[in-house]
Symmetry: C2
Subunit: 508 residues, 2 copies
């Protein structure tokens, strides 16, 4: 009994059980859920090859066009357009690694991207943030910093840095400097940023060289390369892709397709187009540097035909996510999809169920890189601190779920069943006392009290409780150790580049 009290006493130190979950590479031990048949996958593959061969695709950068021409593709320089034969394309795609290590500043937090490894990463790119205290507002560097700290405070994320939200109080062309500096200071786990053109992307890589050494150990950063669908890679994205490939850094090549707007009103058609676009980008990265790490990104949904908005968190997105994973596996490249997608303007029931319509398929599909695993609101325009917590409860539950449970003779504890017999109960048995504390998932946000105690506690709904939890979590953040020389060199770099970029608009 004193043993028991001691254990309880220990746990009381942190009521947020997430903090005590060990960092681990998450794997889905079960076969992936496959939505379409091999024959259907062939149809999608063939269609996408025909698109690249007959319709072609824009690469709006002379350097990219030159690479394609040299490789033997048909290039129209004035139209910035390329037609790619399947032979050439598949030869290039085959050079991409099927899995790779993404290195963290602390190697204990390295992750493997590919295979049946699942990596869950937080929200990125939101221009607004919201919380219950201050409502919806333009996001700042302080908000960004808080998100880094929140992500770092729980070992459930496989990546604790990324462009969580736009630090809009910093000039556009300087934001990457402050994001990366903030990330390095506040977390020693895997990070990434944007890949917006060669200048920003090179800056990011130079900052990583300060942290990891001039000879990078492999992939240490990367960025999403959105295809400007239909069938166009713009110059900014190509600059990012080619710079990352050159330095062996990661491009998450993600066609941005809303069926009905960027593709025909047909999920099959959207997927064929997605496949053409993603593979074309993957192939270009291999043209720049064979073997450079890439991730096949799926972000195909439909347009809601009444509102004109993207339809996040529904059946169409779930199908596209599952089939996208099958396509990526067909080509032996890691797969990226999303997590917390929703159209809801507030962290209500809609926000929660729409998120589950993406998270469940993402887990079932063995998604190697789940972007936006938490935090979405409002079709990705708002990063919500409360939604971050609501989604994190589900990330924690999926982490527990994927670990599975033991089924062997011993786990049946037939003696216990026999001893308690018919009509009894198992409260307080030795077996229960020895196991109750560490067997089942222990929720942080979910309230399992009865009605009366819940009312006595203030009738708080999930939103109100989430507000308290993120503040508590934020307080628990501790800066990981960092060599003072690195910290100073980073600060010098930021200062120098701020000066050099004065008056220059990299997004002009």
């Amino acid at each position: 009994m004193s043993e028991k009290r001691k254990r309880r006493g220990k746990r009381a130190k942190s009521t947020i059980s997430w903090i005590n979950t060990p960092f681990q590479q998450l794997k889905n031990p079960k076969p992936p859920t496959e939505w379409c048949s091999p024959a259907e996958l062939d149809i999608l593959h063939d269609g996408s090859m025909e698109i690249l061969e007959n319709t072609g695709i824009d690469f709006m950068d002379p350097a990219a066009l030159a690479l394609w021409e040299k490789a033997g593709a048909k290039v129209d320089h004035s139209a910035q357009h390329v037609w790619i034969d399947r032979g050439l394309l598949l030869e290039l795609v085959a050079k991409a690694p099927s899995e790779f290590t993404w290195h963290a500043r602390n190697p204990a937090y390295n992750i493997v991207v590919g295979g049946n490894n699942i990596n869950i990463t937080p929200n990125s790119g939101m221009p607004y943030v919201s919380d219950l205290d201050n409502g919806r507002r333009t996001s700042t560097l302080a908000d960004f910093t808080n998100f880094v700290k929140l992500a770092h405070s729980v070992p459930l994320f496989h990546m604790t840095g990324g462009p969580f939200c736009e630090p809009q109080d910093v000039r556009n062309s300087l934001r990457h400097l402050h994001r990366n500096q903030t990330m390095v200071l506040n977390t020693d786990r895997c990070i990434r940023d944007v890949a917006h053109g060669p200048i920003i992307t090179t800056d990011v890589i130079k900052m990583m060289q300060i942290v990891f050494g001039k000879d990078l150990p492999g992939a240490v950063t990367g960025g999403v390369i959105n295809v400007n669908s239909p069938l166009r890679f713009d110059q900014r994205m190509l600059g990012g892709l080619m710079t990352n490939a050159k330095y062996g850094q990661v491009s998450l090549i993600t066609p941005f397709i809303m069926a009905g707007a960027m593709s025909p009103v047909s999920i099959a058609s959207a997927l064929a187009q997605q496949n053409a676009e993603a593979l074309a980008g993957i192939a270009l990265a291999q043209l720049v540097k064979p073997g450079s790490p890439v991730i096949y990104g799926g972000f195909t949904q439909n347009v809601d035909m009444r509102s004109g908005s993207p339809a996040f968190g529904g059946p169409e997105g779930a199908w596209a996510l599952l089939v996208g994973a099958q396509l990526a596996r067909r080509y032996g490249v890691p797969y990226r999809a999303s997590g917390s997608l929703t159209n809801s303007k507030t962290p209500d029931a809609q926000a929660a169920y729409e998120t589950m319509w993406t998270m469940w398929p993402a887990i079932m599909a063995h998604t190697n890189f789940i972007a936006h695993g938490v935090g979405w609101l409002e079709a990705g325009l708002v990063a919500s601190f409360e939604k971050f917590i609501i989604d994190l409860e589900n990330v924690a539950m999926f982490t527990h779920y994927l670990k599975g449970f033991k089924i062997d003779r011993e786990s049946l504890v037939l003696d216990e069943i026999h001893n308690v017999g018919s009509g009894g109960h198992h409260f307080g048995t030795d077996h229960t006392m020895a196991n109750y504390d560490n067997t089942f998932y222990e929720p942080v946000l979910s309230d399992r009290l009865g009605y009366e105690p819940w009312v006595a506690n203030g009738s708080e709904d999930a939103l109100v409780r989430a507000n308290k939890i993120w503040k508590q979590l934020l307080k628990s953040h501790e800066r990981p150790a960092l060599d003072i020389a690195i910290e100073e060199e980073l600060a010098d770099f930021v200062t120098r580049r701020e000066r050099e970029l004065e008056g220059i608009d990299l997004y002009g």
Copy 2:
């Protein structure tokens, strides 16, 4: 364009697209998700056989004990306890039909239970109801009637009758009469009720004989037979089971196991015990009448060790649901699980995500009978009108999801992709105009507007919108035609039985 306006005009008649969804037998076209290996399933099977052979199980009814004794099981009459050999047990279980038809008053609404058929049914058994206008309160016959009408108003449910909520303004022993009368008057689709002892169950069957004729066409009603876990069938449940079996009506045999309370702290142990209990009940039904329709029910969760409450909507419940389906398939009997389980006290984000933690596994597992598909709050104590709508949006999405989408050459519409080319858009093309209206799921509850129009509409969250929708849906209810002779005979039956049961307490 006038064509288009006409179509839009038509749709404007009902803004609730659910109403226009055709009634259909839902099937999961994909293989079921299997959580455990065949070897692990063997371990669970063997464990459950040992429980029945060595530990045994209570059957607290002399008639049931006599049946077991006659069949050759070892019976202790004074302890009301039975030990069942696996040979006898499996021989009996093999007599249960692997699938059967559940007949509706209107045969167009008959359903098939078993195989890869999924049937979604609404909430049942709640002592309280809640809605945004009147809050949480004791439920009444008027509430019950409203739930019947709501369920009947959308063709997405496979069963539109059941003990939605307790009509507490009617005396306990008379409620079944009023429930069944109300159901027959307000819906012509499949219904069920409780199976609380022989008198109530016989009354229910007699009422069905008035509706379907003395010779019932097969299964037309049924009830949940909860095992009083651990290892006890009480007399009330046995009376219901044996009466239903005698008349060829359905028993949904559902062990009520919260691991840590009714079983050891081990999901494997809980599942072995669940299997022993469910199979013992299935076997007894076959002893009463070989071939009588039964459903293997899974309702295994864990106890939350902090609050002592059942833990609904989490990883443990998801595992148990998936493995329960594998066990039911092993014995070739239909499977029942649940849908909208949650511990939340209000239809918030927690209520929504916990529900998804049961609905996703239920769909993936090919659950043949999803009980409580909508409406749960507060661990099943409250039937919420708003949650009914929130969950119904998800039922509609799963219905759309399971229908799948076409992947063939034609569906790729490569010509469209070619004609729009790079950097264009598909709004307004002939293909888009011809297909935008009927291809994608059209939500009813989910709001996909941008922030400003959402604010202009009153910043309504899902809860507020759900409140409007259930009222609108309720108004759309129309009584299906019913032979006046049947209506009168039912009324006479109710009046007569009310008189006969005066002063008698069937729950005493």
